[in-house]
Subunit: 254 residues, 2 copies
DNA sequence: GCAAAAGTGTTTAGCTTACACCCATGA
DNA sequence: TCATGGGTGTAAGCTAAACACTTTTGC
């Protein structure tokens, strides 16, 4: 057997699926698209698509993200963040029966984005929307949305979403990743509300303020202030160069 | 275009590659096999192989691990650990040029095992050995082993190994995973030497002892004692049911 | 006895927590 | 004036780091 013989190994289709998270109205939300064709026609699914023949996995994920949201994924190593989203590989799902049509291995990616006006449909999806992850993850308990659509996601996307949410929840503990949910300029209170939405807890505003402003390199003041949240004007910050938080932000027990 | 048409998407080969780590003679070591055929013939590589047509990714990784080492990967959820190794998915590597022959996507897995007598060759590898990761990771700086073989690993396996080592180093901070490097019964000192080997640091034996014995569910005394390390007899322990360490073990700055 | 490794006790410093308190704005 | 969110001060409690000290074996 020659190692160059394509018949010597099974052929797989490879896709990328995206867990795109954002914080909207104090709730952690994920981008879902309605499937326009079988299988799972009419059901909600994570955005994604086939990896092209000469495309790297990260490039395929960035392309799908751009097609679905218009966001530019920004390389964590790039100097200018711009209006980009954080994008990282999450995990790979390859159960032989995960797609009834054929053998598909999906390399899931996790994207974190600031709140966007509204998702625009793209590719073969005929509609797209932000949905609170809490509702989507209640799929196991037979949750049904108010419009009568079952919330159960297509394929194994419920599991993929759960893994992505768990990754996001744990990663903001020890990294500065929570700033990826914020616009380029934000206040300490806005950043705190991100943590509260992602973790589903309430944090002490005073201790949170001391913690994030006291961690060198986490936040840099941009000079301006804002009163968009009401109350006393708050300083505006940008994300600093630090990527790890040491000591980490502690997630309350419940 | 029908979604069932195989010509509608590119075909990929999918492999699993294994980062198998152990601690031998106070050094973190990885299992490498010598390649018997091109490309990279004669070079060291990580063990791995093609995923079969109806095989899950985790099953393929467990099969390769068993073929190369005789270890049984044990599901973390299984009740009886036995003589099994820890096995988890690491990351997926799919650069279009990572294999000169064809488009191969590799789903890398990380395995942690107690010290084994000697690796046995299996599959198409004509030899296998444990190599200190420090030597393997110095490949970038033109490191050459004492036998004249360049240590540079085949394909992108140097990067995969580096990612696996980093995962292991960070994961023993906040989980009980370090016990996967120990035999079923071990002393606190032996566990400490695992941490010291993986992190490459020296830890205070007194504070380490208090830390691990004071964390509920981490270690359970097995009743026996041993003097195999010399000095005063040490209590023997087994890994307890706890999988997370809270608060975590702190890695010194270096 | 001596070396070596296992354990215990104690002090100090840093960090988290909880909460009292003041500040600056819009309505 | 009052409600609202921003921001500072401070004392209690927990943890880790550093290290003196005792215990129990082999040689």
């Amino acid at each position: 057997m020659s190692p160059y013989d394509p018949s010597a190994f099974p052929a797989f289709a490879v896709t990328v699926d995206l867990v795109v998270l954002t914080v909207r109205r104090h709730a952690l939300c994920a981008l879902v698209v309605r499937r326009g064709e079988p299988p799972f026609q009419g059901r909600w699914a994570l955005p994604g698509g086939f990896v092209r023949a000469d495309e790297d996995l990260a490039d395929a994920a960035a392309r799908e993200l751009s097609e679905e949201t218009g966001l530019c994924a920004h390389d964590p190593k790039a100097p200018a963040p711009g209006n980009g989203a954080h994008l990282e590989q999450l995990a790979t799902y390859g159960d032989p029966k995960r797609d009834p049509r054929m053998r598909v291995v999906s390399v899931a990616h996790l994207a974190l984005s600031p709140d966007l006006p509204a998702p625009r449909a793209g590719g073969d999806a005929n509609s797209a929307r932000w949905a609170p992850v809490e509702a989507l993850l209640n799929q196991e308990s037979g949750f049904v949305r108010e419009d009568g659509q079952p919330a159960q996601l297509a394929f194994d996307h419920g599991r993929i979403l759960a893994d992505g949410v768990e990754r996001a929840r744990s990663k903001i503990e020890y990294s500065s990743l929570a700033t990826a949910f914020c616009p380029s300029e934000f206040t300490v209170g806005e950043l705190r509300r991100v943590y509260e939405a992602v973790w589903g807890v309430a944090l002490d505003p005073r201790n949170f303020h001391r913690k994030v402003t006291g961690t060198p390199g986490f936040l840099v003041p941009s000079g301006g202030t804002t009163t968009r949240q009401g109350g006393r004007p708050a300083q505006l910050f940008r994300a600093g160069g630090a990527t790890v938080l040491n000591p980490p932000m502690l997630r309350p027990e419940v």
